[in-house]
Amino acid sequence: MTAGVAVLRRHPRQSSFFLTKGRASMLSMILRRLVQSLITVGVVVTLIFVLFSVIPGNFATSKANEKRTIDPKVLERIEQQLHLNDPIPVRFANYLSGLAVGDLGNSFATERPVTDMLQGRIFASFKLACAAIFFAVVVGLPLGFLAAVKQGTWMDTSAMVLAVSGLSIPGFWFGLLMMYLFSLTLGWLPTFGYGDGNGDLRHLVLPALTLGIAPMALLARTTRAAVLETMGADFIRTARSKGMTERRVVFRHMARNAFVLVLTTIGLQFGSMLGGSVVIEKLFAWPGVGSFLIQSVSVRDIPAVQGCILVIVLFFLIINTLVDIAYLAIDPRIRLR
């Protein structure tokens, strides 16, 4: 395991070769990712469409709720108006032709373009995801690092107890606890909502903490494991034997090598936040894609459901592609493979 040091001492004459090869490798990876993403999106879109077409109930029947009965003739008209009785291949073809030009169709419920409805939702969800991952990284990373460096001490134990708790506690329950503490007891933050216009920071804090607690815990554990593995590596011993300061060993060699594994965790967690924030968004009346999805599913608003899932899948794919690109920047060994 001397590669870690070796890459830091790249031979000057090899630089242009490595850079050219690196760029080609990156381009190839991006292209590969793009093709994979297109296939993934195609499969997901088809699956969702078929699934919602064959399960019992549709948007019209969902209107006949427990509280109010709607005349069956009215329901028939809704089905005709929305072409719900058209053959599945016809509906799917119509959907795909719209999708090809970026038209996700109109929401059955609001009769507004799904793309319009998604715009504000994407912004809100992205903001929440960024805040949550920021909290997870700022707290989880140092916590895991500290636990590894101080392995076996009370700091390590405390950090890991915190991490296990964060992973074990259900997000919904943790959110309620946050509400009780910061809103009801201390009166520092609003219970729920988004705030005026594009939202405000005070409304963002509680949902971000709630959404970020599990990734924070996972990140702490991953960081600890990665750092512990790196600490025992040959190149760290070599670096120390060369007389490097402990600070330089830790931050230049240990942290950088451990970060590849940590980055994977961050990428996966961040990528899944849009879809994983459904419960949190509902709890905090946060106007994101997750709460939109669950509402749309409950009323069988198929265009809206498909739009939400498409956004969630694309977000996941984009984030993971960016993570792959970041690997290349952090670890040149990957470029050379």
């Binding site: 427990e66 069956p72 108006q81 009769e111 809103s183 009166g187 509902k282 709890l283 106007p287």
Partner: protein, 542 residues
């Protein structure tokens, strides 16, 4: 944001509010104008909940029949009638008067002369006729078309045979008449937002779906989809001095736990409660003071498919009704947030018979009835429920087992359950049904001419009952009509196509500084927001 804890309000009053009240008192004495504590105080922002879902379905009141959307529509829109919660009847809203013809089928309305849309244009009869014609649009499936179908010629428009409703006649700009096919109470048909009067020129604009224009007490300001909707006072609202509040901020959520925390934190002025919160609030000396309880027009029941054995035998259905200790179920499971059902029509229905004795808890009688029906050894039945109804079924199972009936649960998603019932596949199911405010419409759910999808879910068929309903519907004399309705409800009670469980007790919690909140039996969450006001102690006024 208002962050004072409910329990701290008294301390709060003693401090800043106390000072404010003292200043106000001095100011009042100096000006010689007494301020009465019960006199509505204008101004302030109301913070209310639009519960039941995580997003509004639509801001077009004709296009949605969701209670959550109607909560907001009450602020933005108005229909010909409104619900008078104090008297529990529909009351004229946009009209100054109505006259009924001698044959009882034509109603002539004189509209108010001071009703304006939020765009500043005055409402006329043309708007009423246009709105009703829009509701009957054959290309759409507007829920209000069922309400309007009784108007002469309305069905022709719905079927594409006509473009105007012949039963609607414009007399002048403020006067029009409506002719119905049968005897109806137009108030029960025209009070919900699904029959709201809308401005044609605004509906034609694409932005109407996201920026609605109506003639309600508040006009649209902002909608953050899935989070909140904000409306502000409409200065040209037709009721003098109303609305009292300057602004309403509705939070859109279906999470009762979050609503509970927000209410306790003083961030909400009023909210509906679920059974868990109700139990906690009633036990709290402060919170219990602001509770408004109402028997809503919804009847929880176990429907039985009367077309299949063993529920095609009335004795079996009656046995089911004798099998349960409903008092125990209501107390332990529903935390007393329910009223025991004594018929299909609920306590707040004009057709409710307060003298009727409910089915007693009598397992021996239930067993005897089963034995008479040849089922002395009992039977096994599959009961279809949603996830939310499973707890009730689990509470019912021991009672059924005690009379020899083994009940198994078939848990279905709500839409799937509806499909299963409508297709006649479900044998028994737990549901709640809207049973008001029009008692005849509610009792039609056992009319043999009505399909399962049309609400006769049990497929109950009895010509004698149909005749009773027809007689009630054809009777013009209100008192006699009510007696006939009670008799029909009593008949259904005896025939027992459902297990009559309970009427929903809806509970609205209000803060001590909020006044004018009504107890709406048709849907407790839909508040008459033009009458709600905040007193000087409201955190919003500090």
């Amino acid at each position: 944001m208002r962050t004072k804890e409910y329990g701290m309000i008294t301390d709060f009053k003693r401090s800043r509010v106390g000072q404010l009240v003292a200043v106000l008192a001095v100011a009042t004495i100096l000006h010689g104008a007494p301020v009465r504590a019960d006199e509505p105080l204008p101004g302030g922002t109301l913070h209310l909940a639009a519960p039941y879902g995580s997003a509004l379905s639509s801001l077009d009141p004709h296009a949605t029949y969701e209670s959550q959307d109607m909560v907001v529509s009450k602020a933005l829109h108005r229909a010909l009638y409104t619900w008078d919660s104090a008297n529990n009847v529909p009351a004229l809203d946009l009209a100054a008067s109505v006259e009924q013809s001698a044959d009882g089928k034509t109603f002539t309305y004189k509209l108010l002369d001071n009703v304006y849309f939020h765009n500043g244009r005055k409402m006329t009869v043309d708007d009423v006729i246009w709105s009703y014609t829009r509701i009957m649009d054959p290309a759409k499936g507007y829920a209000g078309s069922t309400n309007l179908a009784n108007i002469v010629g309305a069905s022709d428009v719905l079927d594409g045979k006509a473009t105007v409703i012949s039963g609607l006649t414009k007399i002048d700009d403020l006067t029009f008449s409506v002719t119905f096919k049968n005897f109806v109470d137009p108030g029960t048909l025209f009070y919900e937002a699904i029959t709201a009067i809308l401005p044609q020129e605004e509906v034609a604009k694409p932005e109407f779906a996201s920026q609605p224009v109506g003639l309600g007490p508040f006009k649209f300001v902002e909608h953050v989809e899935g989070s909140r909707i904000v409306v502000e006072k409409f200065d040209k609202y037709f009721k003098p001095g109303k609305p009292y509040a300057d602004r309403i901020e509705f939070v859109i959520t279906d999470d009762y736990s979050a609503l509970d925390v927000a209410f306790r934190a003083g961030e909400l002025d009023a909210t509906v409660l679920n059974s868990n919160a109700y139990q906690l609030y009633t036990a709290d000396p402060d919170l219990s003071k602001g509770l408004i309880e109402v028997s809503e027009v919804f009847t929880r029941h176990m429907g039985m498919n009367t077309e299949v054995a063993p529920f095609d035998d009335v004795r079996v259905r009656q046995a089911i009704n004798y099998a349960f200790d409903r008092d125990l179920i209501i107390e332990k499971l529903l935390k007393n947030k329910a009223f025991k059902a004594t018929g299909w029509l609920p306590a707040t229905s004009p057709g409710f018979d307060a003298t009727r004795t409910p089915y007693a808890y009598d397992p021996e009688k239930a067993k005897a009835l089963l034995a008479e029906a040849g089922l002395a050894d009992g039977f096994t039945v599959e009961v279809s429920v949603t996830e939310g109804g499973l707890e009730l079924l689990q509470a019912m199972q021991p009672f059924l087992a005690a009379i020899g009936i083994t009940a198994t649960a078939k848990v279905l998603e709500s839409n799937v359950l509806v499909d299963s019932i409508d297709a006649g596949e479900a044998v028994a199911w737990l549901r709640s049904a809207g049973t008001g405010p029009d008692p005849i419409a509610a009792l039609r759910c056992f009319d043999s001419r009505v399909s399962r999808g049309g609400c006769n879910t049990t497929a109950f068929k009895d010509p004698a009952y149909d005749a009773m309903l027809d007689e009630a519907a054809a009777t013009q004399d209100p008192a006699k009509r009510i007696e006939l309705i009670k008799a029909a409800d009593g008949y259904i009670f005896d025939q027992a196509p459902v297990w009559f469980n309970n009427y929903n007790k809806a509970v609205v919690a209000t803060q001590p500084w909020v006044h004018g909140v009504d107890a709406n039996a048709t849907e407790a969450a839909i508040l008459e927001v033009d009458s709600i006001w905040l007193d000087a102690t409201a955190p919003d006024r500090q």
